[in-house]
């Protein structure tokens, strides 16, 4: 019986969470649609959430591109296909690694920060204060963060793409003696503008996920400092899981299961 009870309770909690998240998303998007946007706050959030994440995104992307090149270049040269290394690095970077890595890194840094900030505001009654002043927290707090991530995450993904490819190119030249010209020629032949734009579409979706999950986790915080901790952890875990799931769905939709 306990098993059924737990299952039932878990199911109810899941749908309550999904319903609350949908409600927040709908309310937030309705404010965006009505252009009820706090511009100064949005610009500030672009800086805090986007610009301040740049270094960590660049570092993770650089080393991931380098590792990918290190693993593939020597083997590729061994089998006589060294000229394809640039394409392989660029292909994975632009389609997957750039959008995914930047999103995961931002989810860890920014998703947690949003949940912690809003959670602290809940337990210090600042959210209730906003409501009592006739201000909707969704418009006041969530809209700027959502827009900031929709704008900044694709930009971060572009930086991630470029740095990842450059790192891969350097390693390919250093360890497998693949010239920069050969590497870049392969890059140009393999990826097109479509690949880049589709990667950016993913980034926009990931940005929405991070902003909404972080905000929702923060706004539903209960129980003091421990509650803020739980909300923060939850924001990171749920965001990353949803990023991976949506990445698969988006890849299927955008690339149609094709390889080209």
């Amino acid at each position: 019986m306990k098993l059924f009870e737990d299952f039932g309770k878990g199911t109810i909690e899941f749908f309550e969470y999904a319903g609350g998240l949908t409600e927040l998303g709908e309310e937030t998007l309705s404010f965006v649609a009505k252009l009820r946007i706090r511009l100064t706050e949005t610009v500030l959030q672009c800086y805090l959430l986007g610009v301040q994440s740049l270094v960590i995104v660049l570092l993770t992307s650089l080393f991931t591109g380098m590792v990918f090149s290190l693993e593939s270049a020597a083997q590729a040269v061994k089998y006589g296909v060294g000229t394809l290394v640039g394409g392989a690095v660029a292909y994975t970077s632009v389609r997957e690694l750039g959008p995914m890595l930047s999103a995961v890194v931002v989810a860890g840094r920014v998703g947690a920060a949003i949940a912690a900030e809003l959670g602290s505001m809940v337990i210090t009654e600042q959210i209730e204060a906003l409501q009592s002043l006739g201000l909707a927290p969704a418009r006041f707090l969530v809209v700027p963060r959502l827009l900031a991530l929709i704008i900044m995450l694709p930009l971060l993904a572009i930086f991630a793409d470029v740095v990842s490819i450059l790192g891969g190119m350097w390693i390919a030249q250093t360890y497998a003696h693949i010239s920069y010209e050969t590497f870049m020629s392969s890059v140009r032949q393999t990826i097109g503008f479509d690949d880049v734009t589709r990667g950016l579409v993913k980034s926009v979706v990931f940005g929405i996920i991070i902003a909404l999950i972080g905000s929702y986790q923060g706004l539903r915080t209960r129980g003091g400092a421990a509650g803020v901790g739980a909300a923060t952890t939850g924001a990171v875990v749920i965001s990353i899981i949803l990023i991976f799931i949506s990445n698969f769905v988006l890849s299927y939709i955008l690339y149609g299961g094709s390889t080209g």
């Binding site: 505001m121 210090t124 600042q126 209730e128 204060a129 906003l130 009592s132 002043l133 006739g134 201000l135």
Partner: protein, 268 residues
């Protein structure tokens, strides 16, 4: 305010449109999880008066304030404010409606990312068509009126506890609301600051010609400012009336509470 009398003729189910009432909590039941906080609780809020709600810690006093501005919705019953049943008002309508109700929180709840002046100016930016210059002047004048001159550009973290509370008062009253709700405005402060805040509440009521509902444990402060006192006990208002009447109440629960005695019907 001496001519005010308890509304003995106010009936359950009244919509609060009685001219003497500005708000009415009507047979409200409210619970958090499994714990029933209010059960068939009713309270009249008389227009132009200061009504103080007293009761034990955790009795649900703050919940009554949150019901009065729609931050909480009851499980059963109604809450009428200015004749509107706000329990069934959609959240988006409530957001606009709340601009007519000031709320001073227990710990001020100023937004710590903004200066004190920006906090006070915030509702003016959102709910008025005043120019930025007018908003700044109004916010500054409101801060002056609660004794917080030259704090406009300070951040909440730079203020003392008493100053924070007064800044919270300023934000609550800057839009000239019809009702101001004060949640434990004097808790944790020294007697001098307590007197200062009590005078501030009375001064703001007079200045706004409005109504105040105050939650407090500080009996000295309550006796100084209250026109009416309501005592909340075990989820319901068990005594309500003009301050002098409540002080003379023969209800043993009220007397034990007012005397702070450990002996009596309230278990310690």
């Amino acid at each position: 305010m001496t001519d005010l009398r308890p509304l003995e003729d106010a009936q359950d189910g009244d919509t609060g449109q009685d001219d003497r009432l500005i708000a009415r909590v009507d047979n409200v039941t409210m619970r958090y999880g499994d714990k029933i906080v209010l059960e068939d609780c009713s309270l009249d809020v008389v227009k132009g008066a200061i009504t103080c709600v007293i009761g034990l810690s955790g009795a649900g006093k703050s919940t009554i304030l949150r019901l009065l501005n729609g931050l909480r919705r009851p499980e059963r019953g109604h809450v009428y404010v200015k004749g509107f049943d706000i329990c069934h008002m959609p959240e988006r309508e409530l957001i606009d409606f709340r601009s007519a109700i000031g709320f001073a929180f227990q710990f001020a709840a100023l937004l710590d990312s903004m200066t004190v002046g920006e906090n006070v100016a915030l509702p003016l930016h959102e709910h008025t068509r005043m120019s930025a210059e007018e908003i700044g002047e109004t916010a500054e004048a409101t801060l002056d009126s609660v004794g917080l001159e030259n704090t406009y550009n300070m951040f909440p973290s730079e203020l003392s506890g008493g100053m924070l509370k007064r800044a919270g008062f300023a934000r609550a009253v800057v839009t000239n609301p019809d009702i101001v709700l004060y949640d434990e405005p004097t808790t944790g402060l020294d007697p001098i600051i307590t007197n200062l805040l009590t005078d501030t509440i009375k001064h703001l009521r007079t200045k706004l010609n409005g109504t105040a509902v105050v939650i407090s444990h500080d009996l000295h402060s309550i006796y100084m400012m209250a026109d009416y006192i309501a005592m909340l006990y075990e989820g319901a208002i068990i005594a309500y009336g003009p301050t002098d009447e409540i002080r003379r109440s023969t209800n043993p629960i009220v007397q034990q509470f007012l005397q702070g005695s450990e002996v009596g019907p309230i278990p310690v």
